[in-house]
């Protein structure tokens, strides 16, 4: 069974509006989400991630292409016939019902016997740590509690797939961090496939088994959190997730498993190769600030600015040709910066730390 995708999109395109004014929200998206997976759709607002979620839930129909749940097409199925439940961004709790009635709603609609519904409601309240609050109204709950009820209401139906549309975005930072680990735990315990939509890279990196980074209606990269962070394939992914230095360079020739590149600022890199790495080619390299180390007494660049960010200090280095490079260095025990503005430093980039981008 594990080899059948829980959710699959095949060449899905969704255009809102018609003709010239039509907005292409999704552009030929194909994706397979495994069973029992915590899958995240990550991207800026307007990238099509919520549209894809709504197509899976059945609130919208694809303009072309098809959606499959557990291997069978669901085009003809309305939302209430799909074994999929959604946790809405606004929670969308029914204000005229109690917490318990909200949680029971899905089961009642499917005609579960009363005793069973009551049992499940209690179980769900315990699961989201809200035992004893079943008689409250949504309006009497805090944001975090409402979010738990929304989660319980969706999970009560034990769906094949749970869709979560930016469920943490309305919570404050502390609560958000708490809910992250709780969500991950819930997913492990229930074994339900979670499809999580967010624009928050940290949420995506900390919770997901796999992430699809989306932009302009297309999936830019699909991979594990480590893969996405360490090996971004293009400028968008490298830029959207984490901080990145983009360095324009030309390819010098191959050097073992790496490619030797020379940047305008006089720096040499041994970069991860990609298919377009022919000698003389102009390429863009992405280098994470924390992968670069600084050395006293060199003359590769001058410290232009230092920014203290708690655990680390960000140094902005001015290179020979005037371009800038950001380097992140972990602070010493006393928290004092190791380099001062105006100091000349040497720069060391380990082999493979520079990542050659496809565009």
């Amino acid at each position: 069974m594990a080899d059948i995708a829980a959710v699959e999109a095949r060449g899905v395109t969704k255009i809102f509006g018609q003709g010239q004014d039509g907005v292409r929200a999704l552009d030929d998206v194909s994706i397979a989400i495994r069973q029992n997976e915590f899958f995240t759709l990550l991207g800026p607002s307007g990238c099509g991630k919520t549209t894809l979620l709504r197509l899976i839930a059945g609130f919208e129909q694809p303009t072309s292409g098809e959606i499959l749940l557990k291997g069978s097409p669901v085009e003809h199925l309305p939302p209430y016939r799909r074994a999929v439940n959604t946790v809405f961004q606004s929670y969308a709790l029914f204000p005229h019902m109690t917490v318990a009635q909200n949680i029971a709603f899905g089961l009642e609609m499917r005609g579960s016997p009363k005793e069973k519904v009551q049992g499940v409601v209690e179980e769900m309240l315990a699961l989201v740590k809200m035992t004893g609050l079943g008689g409250r109204r949504p309006a009497q709950l805090s944001g975090g509690q409402q979010q738990r009820v929304a989660l319980a209401r969706a999970l009560a139906n034990h769906p094949d797939v749970l869709l979560l549309d930016e469920p943490l975005s309305a919570l404050d930072l502390k609560l958000r961090q708490e809910m992250r680990s709780e969500l991950k735990n819930l997913q492990r315990r229930t074994g339900i496939t979670f499809i999580f939509v967010t624009h928050d890279q940290e949420e995506a990196l900390t919770m997901s088994d796999r992430i699809a980074v989306m932009s302009k209606g297309k999936i830019q990269q699909l991979g594990s959190p480590i893969g996405i962070y360490e090996q971004p394939v293009n400028r968008f992914v490298a830029d959207f997730i984490g901080d990145t230095n983009f360095v324009e360079a030309s390819v010098d020739g191959s050097a073992g498993e790496f490619v030797h590149c020379r940047a305008a600022g006089g720096l040499d890199f041994l970069a991860n190769p990609t298919t377009n790495a022919t000698a003389g080619a102009k390429v863009t390299l992405a280098i994470r600030p924390e992968k670069i180390s600084l050395r006293m007494g060199g003359d590769a660049g001058t410290i232009a600015q230092t920014v203290y960010v708690g655990t680390d200090t960000n140094y902005e280095i001015s290179l020979a040709d005037g371009s800038r490079l950001t380097v992140r260095v972990q602070n010493a025990m006393d928290g004092r910066a190791q380099f001062a503005v105006g100091e000349k430093v040497g720069i060391e980039v380990p082999a493979g730390a520079a990542r050659m981008l496809l565009d």
Binding site: A57, G58, F59, P78, P79, Y80, R81, V84, N85, T86, F88, S90, A92, L93, F94, P95, H96, F105, G106, M109, R110, R137, R153, A154, N157
Partner: protein, 314 residues
């Protein structure tokens, strides 16, 4: 936090003065409305109550003798010879008819108005104003004129019969004017906007993501309507029903014009007492019986619904 210390008693004194001023100004603001309501609302009502307990003057007006005759004659007729009372349900029948008419109008208005309001509330925001304008359009012309226009359409030589006969579908005109159906049609026509507008107001405020949530939780269209949309639109439904039922039960022009005087409603009956019958006490009594009846029904209704609402929100 570091404001100069003011003796607390002076603070409370100043607060008390401000509070008195505020209260006075509020009464001041309400005064014009209170005067108008008192002069033209309460006073006429008081006159009505007094008149209903007096004797009728021979040529209209009242004779200042206390009498319960008006209330007695609402249900009974006095035998011409020995003066003993005989139960006579004539007026009662008109009352019951009026209630039935008003109830039917309310129910049909709700059935027609709900989909209309739902349609309006689901239009794009910039289009909604236009729909609201269209719904209120009939108010721009006089009710009597509009009712006469309805009469022109449904009478024997009216538009509908002309067209049907012209097409050869019928050979004799269908009698529509001066029937119960005509009265009901007229009532529906005049009161539908009063149902649509409050319904629209509450549906427009509704969060349609709740509808999606309902579908997501396996509720079919019918169940979403019954379990989510209708309960959330309840304030609009209650307001709409009141706004239709209460004026409909006292409707005067519509039954007069479209019912042709054969199909009386309470409003016409009361008017009759003050005009051709010249029995002001009876007219006053009938109007009061209607008012008290509606009031009592309303009280029961409001109590039963707020009881439910409190159970819902408490």
């Amino acid at each position: 936090m570091s404001a100069p210390a003011i003796p607390s008693e002076r603070v409370t004194q100043a607060q008390a003065v401000m509070r008195r001023r505020w209260l006075r100004s509020r009464w001041g603001l309400a005064a014009p409305a209170l005067v108008i309501i008192g002069l033209f609302g309460v006073l006429p009502l008081a006159i009505m109550v007094i008149y209903s307990f007096l004797e009728a003057g021979e040529y209209g007006g009242v004779v200042w003798n206390f009498s319960t005759e008006a209330y007695v004659s609402f249900l009974f007729q006095r035998d011409i010879f020995d003066g003993h009372l005989i139960f006579s349900p004539d007026y009662l029948i008109i009352f019951v008819r009026s209630i039935l008419f008003a109830a039917a109008t309310t129910v049909i208005c709700l059935a027609l108005g709900f989909p209309t309001a739902y349609f309006m509330a689901t239009r794009p925001v910039h289009q909604r104003t236009l729909w609201v304008f269209l719904i209120t359009l009939p108010f721009w012309s006089n009710l009597l004129v509009r009712t006469l226009a309805v009469m022109l359409i449904i009478r024997d030589e009216g538009l509908i019969n002309d067209v049907l006969m012209g097409l050869g579908l019928i050979h004799a005109p269908i009698v529509m004017l001066y029937t119960d159906g005509a009265v009901l049609l007229g009532l529906l026509y005049s009161f539908l906007p009063f149902m649509v507008l409050p319904l629209y107001a509450s549906l427009e405020k509704m969060d349609f993501r709740l509808v999606e949530a309902g579908f997501d939780l396996y509720a079919t269209r019918g169940k979403v309507l019954r379990r989510i949309i209708v309960p959330l639109a309840r304030p609009g439904i209650v307001a709409g029903c009141l706004l239709v039922f209460i004026p409909a039960i006292g409707a005067y022009v519509t039954p007069l014009v479209l019912g042709g005087g054969k199909h009386l409603m309470i409003g016409d009956l009361v008017a009759l007492q003050f005009a051709s019958s010249r029995n002001w006490p009876l007219g006053s009594a009938q109007a009061l019986i209607l008012m008290v009846g509606v009031l009592v029904a309303l009280l029961f209704y409001v109590r039963s619904t707020t009881g439910k609402a409190q159970a819902l929100h408490g």
